[in-house]
Point group: C2
């Protein structure tokens, strides 16, 4: 059977089904942002891991190594916050091919350290090895959470309100911009290199130097007015601030996860695991101006980008309706809909009143392997 047939989540489910839990320390295994373990202290222990592969998860043509390190750390830290936890320790494994120097690895570590400093996480181990091909980064983060305040995906209840933090779709638009400029760069550079080859053949040295000068200037695309989109793609921030604000306000969500694959896909995870339905409203989905402007310029539907774009690393959570006033006082949180009975299904209510059933169209890293 081909792996693409099952998809990422189906595959993990298939491979890990019927795994018997043998240790009483294991509270929650596969199926949430983190595994949860009870080692007898006041707080439970959380663990999450992510594997990032060059050419699949990142493109070094436009991702600086320091940003890559930062993002690789942040996507794992985000999973700890998504359980209402605090990150504590991180291990880092790198596989590097010959084309990387010690200075390159220092750049990756500079990014890792910056992310760990901002989230108070300790780098406690890892290994570094040769790779026959590209760059591989594997990160595991351990965190903890108060025993009675861990938030799973499975706790959403009928009539809960659905909240998201920040704004959505910007990271996806940033990726589209970077990919577009990369395409333009390659086209221009291919054309120029063709002309350079011809000039060389004909021995036209003046033309050759003009062309070489042109080649050196095409590498700098102008991203003015799009800085926010690039930052969201290249330097996402785990929402430590929100978790701290919720704690300060005495709010514990009923269900929570981070938005890595797109709002639509994550809503479906919460609905499935909580055995509920949902209704979210298009007009309530938080968007940044730059996201909307870039979507229009690129002829993309901005709601689709926000619903299915992914990599925003914002938090999606549900709360009892009784906490509606309390959450209004937390900056950067927006209520986008509410939880229904499972039989009512999972719906996006559009601006014109039409309703669309949610579909997981998030990025599938196994589809185009």
């Amino acid at each position: 059977m081909e792996i693409a047939e099952l998809g990422e989540f189906g595959l993990i489910r298939h491979l890990t089904e019927n795994i018997e839990i043998k240790n009483r320390e294991t509270v929650k295994g596969v199926g949430d942002d983190c595994a949860v373990m009870d080692y007898g202290g006041e707080r439970v222990v959380l663990m999450t891991t992510d594997l990032l592969l060059e050419g699949v998860h990142f493109d070094l043509q436009y991702v600086p190594l320091k940003h890559l390190g930062y993002k690789a750390a942040m996507v794992n830290l985000s999973d700890i916050y998504a359980m209402n936890g605090r990150p504590r320790q991180m291990t880092v494994s790198l596989g590097v091919s010959k084309r990387f120097s010690v200075e390159d690895l220092e750049e990756i570590y500079a990014g890792l350290r910056l992310a760990c400093d901002s989230c108070q996480c300790d780098i406690v181990g890892g290994d570094t090895s040769a790779s026959m091909t590209g760059l591989t980064i594997s990160i595991t983060v351990i965190g903890d959470a108060a025993r009675d305040k861990v938030v799973y995906r499975s706790g959403a209840k009928e009539n809960d309100i659905i909240c998201v933090t920040g704004d959505l779709g910007a990271a996806y638009m940033g990726l589209q911009l970077l990919e577009r400029e990369k395409g333009i760069y390659y086209e221009q550079s291919r054309e120029l290199q063709q002309k350079i080859a011809e000039a060389k053949e004909s021995g036209d040295s003046q033309k050759l130097s003009t062309l070489n000068a042109q080649l050196s200037t095409i590498a700098t695309p102008d991203f003015t007015g799009r800085e926010y989109l690039l930052e969201r793609q290249l330097k996402p921030e785990a929402r430590k601030d929100i978790i701290e604000a919720l704690a300060a306000a005495g709010i514990v969500p009923t269900a929570m996860m981070d938005i890595s694959d797109g709002l639509s896909s994550e809503l479906m995870h919460i609905c499935k695991q909580s055995n509920v339905g949902c209704r979210v409203y298009e007009e309530r989905i938080p968007l940044d101006y730059q996201t909307a402007a870039a979507a229009e310029e690129m002829n993309l539907n901005v709601t689709t980008c926000a619903m299915n774009g992914g990599e925003d690393y914002e938090l999606l959570f549900t709360l009892p309706l009784s906490q509606n006033d309390a959450i209004q006082a937390v900056p950067g949180v927006k209520t986008i809909g509410y939880i229904t009975r499972a039989e009512a299904g999972q719906w996006l209510v559009c601006r014109d009143g039409t309703e669309m059933e949610l579909k997981a169209q998030g990025w599938n890293p196994l589809k185009n392997s």
Copy 2:
């Protein structure tokens, strides 16, 4: 600077030096078999991680996928035992290219599960992703240990005895055998394929069918009498039994680690981190008969194989001299020497009485990258 100049341990040291520990939960960071964390329970929490890359750490030409999964799990489980701990949870990340099927991944998981079952460890998460190239396996294991019984590399004291479990060098000899047979296979198959091409060109269909029949039979080398060596290479066992036997006998080593890079390299780690020296005796190094026979056949010095071969995943530990009698009662443990003052250096005393200073000639996964 090229990575090979620093080597694996130098590189990790370089990248992680001056990392400030920010959480009181972090007891021990980089530099031992596991990181150690204190989450307030009666037992401390251990964490270890390993990244395995196709073409660097394993060769699918002769490693069956189930064995690969088993070994990938065992090398991590071994690190937990090496701290005198018990493994509890494991996460598994796989990067797989298109040539792998769901059935292939099932094989890997079958091996992982078998190892986890035998060591009472729960698979609690992970991810699976496409890879542009080969197979990537990243495993993290969490375990625990009684607060006062964690054993570090740094606790060896002058006059302590040095013990190793099992026997050494067999995994390395197994690898040599497999590599040799792979070489023979390629040579024979290249020759035959050359002849087949000639037969095709000349249209000699009878010769062609004879050659094809020959081609199908060269793939089965005869490893009779070498089974133990192959098993040690392809299916190593973490020494859970020894850790349980030590606990039953009330023995807590002063320093311990597992032998993954070779006895010589590991002795040097313990000496450096404990700030001591050592003397070990060639005649005391435990060898299996098959290891010695294969070394002789292949014109290799068996002591060198045992000292520098690696991948044995046996335990190396030190004990106060007062525990000498107690350890004799534990099966599968051999005393190979004793700890000295740091200034006395690190020495192997050979059978003929000559002394050789220890050198870390273990496998360096960064050298030939």
